[in-house]
């Protein structure tokens, strides 16, 4: 029986294992040094915040793996020996494979800051990082201030976490507005305000220079390029992540920043595949980047590679881009492509609406010549994935999207609806006379 070995028990590796099991009788092993069982990495923050216990982050009960004959191995892979088709573990043991899937995810970036390896300095990615944060910042008496370096999704999550324990947080962001490499200016401004509303000391256009140690080798302060020294007990390094592939150096597997793969998720070596955060496409697919460290793409690569391994060789073809996040209290969803001013295409035009009082806004991107709908960002309004996916496939124009916007609303029942306001602003700006159509179940389910 063919033995499929998967390194990494994150969403990519586990999805691959599940789908291989559905489609075959192959022997499956998952190796992980991080945890015994699969957990949802995106939920780690809720454990620290006291919303959940760690076991709640595990999507499958512990008996699931045995029942589905997925063999879980706790261990750290030191090297891949593709000539002998085996992986060598740190424990000295080795495991033979017929096919190997590398799904080792990411590690937090460190950019060589002085003091970056001091005690009290950490990222937030793994279960171990969570445990460490619990030790470093159990309460506001132990951690009198935390400084977070890097204005992305993990940075704002870490700030939110620490604030739930009333720990003062200083948030250093390199850009002149939060996440404005991704978000258009209006949205980025909304989040800036929201961060400050949550009593987080947001410092834009500020970089870390050095982390200063106390006599015990613990961080006690940071200095910034604005000349400030900020006393703190914890420094969170959240300046992005990069593929966790150092153990593959010298293995013969071609590496770029991540493991280089073709559209079939195959590496340069036969029978070795890479999926998830650690995989790097030779060229980005469509508008996508070659490395996508996103939950959803990890899952999709897992779904895809399982087909290939089970004899139905198929290309990795992610559909229309979508993503979501939550910035403190504000939910964010995106469908299609809405670029920030920095990454904007020359044909791209934006329509932006923001609620007068509430933290709600919408940005719609469309083609300035032919009005083709390109994408939408929503803050504080939930949208129906299926509808936008369909509109993107059908290449609808922006006027159509506006007219049928009510079909796409996914907010809970009784919520105030803003389509009328949104459309009247759109009409005023564009001289159009669109009036919103009533929500229609028939249209919503026409393709279901």
């Amino acid at each position: 029986m063919e033995h499929i070995v998967i390194i990494g028990n994150g969403i990519a590796g586990v999805t691959a294992a599940r789908h291989i099991r559905k489609n075959s009788d192959k022997q499956i092993s998952i190796i992980s040094a991080e945890t015994d069982y699969f957990f949802s990495r995106t939920a780690l923050m809720y454990v620290y915040m006291g919303h959940m216990k760690f076991e709640h982050t595990q999507p499958y009960e512990n008996w699931f793996w045995k029942k589905n004959r997925i063999n879980l191995v706790k261990g750290y892979v030191n090297e891949v020996d593709h000539e002998n088709k085996k992986v060598n573990l740190a424990s000295g043991a080795s495991i033979n494979y017929d096919k190997l899937i590398i799904a080792t995810g990411s590690k937090p970036n460190k950019f060589g800051w002085p003091g970056q390896d001091l005690l009290g300095v950490q990222g937030l990615y793994s279960k171990q990082d969570l445990d460490q944060l619990e030790a470093n910042a159990p309460d506001k008496e132990t951690c009198k201030r935390a400084v977070i370096v890097g204005g992305g999704l993990i940075g704002i999550e870490m700030a939110e976490m620490l604030r739930t324990r009333k720990i003062p947080v200083t948030f250093l962001v390199r850009e002149n507005s939060f996440w404005n490499g991704v978000l258009p200016a209006g949205e980025s401004a909304l989040i800036n305000e929201h961060i400050i509303d949550h009593h987080i000391d947001l410092r834009l256009e500020t970089n870390l220079v050095e982390i200063i140690a106390d006599e015990n080798g613990r961080a006690k302060a940071v200095t910034t390029d604005k000349g400030d020294t900020i006393e703190c007990n914890v420094v969170g390094l959240t300046a992005g992540v990069s593929p966790n592939v150092d153990f593959l150096k010298g293995s013969g597997i071609t590496l770029g920043r991540g493991v280089k793969v073709n559209r079939h998720l195959e590496t340069n070596i036969t029978d070795i595949y890479a999926i998830g955060d650690c995989a790097e496409q030779h060229e980005g697919i469509g508008n996508r980047r070659p490395i996508e460290a996103v939950w959803y793409t990890g899952r999709m690569m897992g779904e895809t590679v399982a087909q290939t391994i089970c004899g139905n060789k198929i290309e990795y073809k992610p559909g229309h881009w979508f993503n979501s996040a939550k910035f403190l209290d504000i939910e964010y969803q995106t469908y299609g492509w809405v670029f920030s001013e920095r990454g904007m295409k020359e044909y791209e035009k934006h329509f932006h609406w923001r609620h007068a009082k509430e933290n709600i806004c919408v940005t719609v991107a469309y083609h300035k010549e032919n009005n083709l709908f390109l994408g939408i960002n929503t803050f504080g309004i939930r949208m129906r994935h299926e509808i936008f996916d369909r509109w993107l496939t059908e290449e609808r124009d922006v006027n159509y999207v506006m007219e049928y916007l009510k079909d796409a609303n996914f907010d809970p029942e009784f919520y105030a609806q803003y389509e009328k306001e949104i459309i009247s602003k759109f009409n005023a700006e564009n001289g159009t006379k669109i009036s919103p159509k009533k929500k229609s179940w028939k249209r919503i389910f026409s393709h279901a």
């Binding site: 969403i11 789908h19 949802s40 995106t42 939920a43 809720y46 915040m49 006291g50 919303h51 959940m52 216990k53 709640h56 982050t57 595990q58 999507p59 009960e61 739930t164 509303d197 949550h198 939950w295 959803y296 899952r299 999709m300 779904e303 895809t304 087909q307 139905n312 198929i314 290309e315 990795y316 073809k317 992610p318 559909g319 229309h320 979508f322 979501s324 996040a325 939550k326 403190l328 209290d329 939910e331 969803q333 939930r382 949208m383 129906r384 994935h385 299926e386 996916d389 496939t393 996914f410 809970p412 029942e413 009784f414 919520y415 105030a416 179940w441 028939k442 919503i444 389910f445 279901a448």
Partner: protein, 526 residues
């Protein structure tokens, strides 16, 4: 703010402390005329019992119910024992000792508590309400900006099965034990609400009135908490208002007012088989003897169960009843909200749930079948089994122990829907309709789920919501009461409760929306 909250807790605890002490204190003195009235009203024919009480109780002052009730129950048991021995069955007293004690106790209260009902009400209910609100209202500020604020739930003793939770558990269980099995100890509580009861029905309060009034008070106070906690979520605000309205108006006020108008006591929203004694012969007799209104109630009760309930479930899901109207649901969604995370999500618990809840439904139906058979054929037994003993068993095991003691008492340990999930026969019935013939579903939003588990954690019915959401499948589980909290706590906007066409309601998927279209078709077709 913290200071106000702490003072609030202190005031609340004082009120609760006095309330808890009441069953053990107070003075009782039964005078001769009252005693004769009771003998006449209860048609007591046991000269032994009368003599015993005459000698040991009448005219004497008792301090605390423990003293009095022991005398009464001893007199009653001794008398009955002798009568049974002498085969004087006509003299035997069939009133339960605790009912007799509470009857006598209620009429013989003297001293401060019985004479200062208003003051005592303030010192118990009043302080409790004020203290609780002083703790709750500052949450507008302390919870921070509006949004989901479940911070620290698993760090606090009260909401993480710590010692406070166990204390609450112990208190609630004891309270229900008094209510169901020791009503004589509730006599002092009834004095507190006598004025309210008299103004509604014209009668002094019994222990069930205390319970009904307290139920409304607790729901109202905890609804304030819900309004603050979910002030960003209109669905929760509207739903809480609805459930509060039906409790206060339908379960509490209307039945009391009906009594004042010489009509049968009836809660128009309490549907059979949750209202398990609707078809009991005493109820049928009372209804048929109550003229037009009795007949109306009889027809209404049957139509409610057979037509209104299932039709509404078809259009809106069982939530219209379980989390918008029902009293049990109402308490669960207000007092029980802080404990919703304790429901067990394992597959094993789901298995137990299906056996238990459907077992209770079968039990209720069999019992009702026997009841009706006995009623129409005027026999006491069906196939050699005594109908009344089945009824008594059901009332005790299901009606009192399961629904009350376990259903509410176990809130802090097993979550707020133990009864609704494992025991309620009406919920089982609605569940069938919801699962097989309904427009209700919780829609999963394409591929947006990140498997974080907030939805499953906060599902009070123990549904592993995430298991469906992460597969892109809609949730159509029979147990879902549509509280809407999974949708509220989802950080990515994945879940929406909605009523839509039946077609496409159940949508099994393997590969989620967002991946290669061909792959999705290939895999999902299987």
């Amino acid at each position: 703010m913290k200071a106000i909250q702490n003072i609030g807790i202190a005031i609340f605890l004082v009120g609760l402390g006095i309330f808890t002490t009441l069953p053990f204190i107070g003075s009782f003195k039964l005078d001769q005329t009252t005693f004769e009235d009771i003998v006449a009203e209860k048609k007591i024919k046991s000269e032994l019992f009368i003599a015993d009480l005459q000698q040991n109780v009448v005219g004497k002052e008792f301090s605390g119910m423990v003293d009095l009730s022991s005398k009464i129950s001893k007199a009653l048991e001794d008398a009955n024992a002798t009568h049974v021995k002498n085969k004087e069955y006509k003299k035997k007293i069939y009133t339960k000792t605790s009912d007799m004690a509470s009857l006598v106790g209620k009429r013989s209260g003297v001293g401060y508590i019985a004479n200062n009902k208003g003051v005592m009400w303030f010192l118990t209910f009043g302080l409790g309400i004020i203290g609780a609100l002083m703790f709750i209202i500052p949450q507008v500020v302390t919870l921070g900006k509006k949004g989901i604020k479940n911070d620290g739930i698993y760090h606090q003793s009260s909401t993480n099965r710590g010692w406070i939770a166990w204390l609450v558990f112990f208190f609630l269980v004891s309270f229900y034990m008094v209510l169901y099995f020791g009503s004589e100890y509730a006599v002092n509580w009834t004095y507190l609400v006598d004025p309210i009861s008299e103004s509604l029905s014209g009668n002094p309060a019994g222990h069930w009135f205390v319970y009904g009034f307290m139920y409304c008070v607790i729901m109202t106070v905890m609804a304030v908490r819900m309004y603050i906690k979910y002030r960003h979520n209109v669905y929760q605000v509207v739903r809480t208002t609805s459930v509060l309205f039906f409790q206060i108006v339908f379960a509490f006020l209307i039945p009391e007012i009906m009594v004042r108008l010489q009509m049968p006591y009836y809660d128009f929203k309490n549907a059979f088989p949750l209202d398990y004694d609707f078809f009991f012969s005493w109820n049928l007799k009372e209804l048929t003897n109550s003229g037009g209104i009795g007949l109306f109630i009889l027809v209404w009760g049957i139509v409610l169960t057979l037509v209104i309930v299932p039709v509404m479930v078809y259009f809106f899901g069982k939530r219209w009843y379980c989390s918008w109207v029902c009293g049990c649901g109402g308490l669960a969604e207000t007092l029980g909200d802080p404990y919703r995370q304790h429901s067990n999500k394992s597959l094993f618990a789901w298995k137990i749930e299906r056996w238990l809840i459907h077992g209770v439904l079968v039990f209720a139906l069999v019992m009702t079948g026997m009841t009706l058979f006995s009623f129409f054929t005027e026999t006491g037994t069906v196939l050699g089994v005594k109908t009344s003993s089945i009824q008594t068993t059901y009332s005790l095991a299901i009606g009192s122990v399961f629904a009350g003691v376990i259903g509410t008492g176990f809130y802090p340990i097993f979550g707020n829907r133990v009864w609704c999930r494992f025991g309620c026969p009406l919920a089982a019935y609605l569940g069938f309709v919801q699962r097989f013939k309904s427009r209700f579903r919780i829609t999963t939003n394409g591929g947006q789920c990140i498997s974080c588990g907030n939805c499953s954690t906060y599902c009070e019915q123990g549904i592993d919501v995430r298991a469906y959401a992460q597969k892109g499948e809609n949730i159509v589980r029979s147990s879902c009461v549509g509280c809407g909290v999974c949708s509220a706590v989802c950080p990515r906007g994945v879940l929406k409760l909605e009523n839509g066409p039946e077609e496409g309601r159940i949508n099994p998927t393997e590969v989620l929306l967002g991946n290669d279209v061909d792959l999705m078709e290939l895999v999902n077709k299987k």
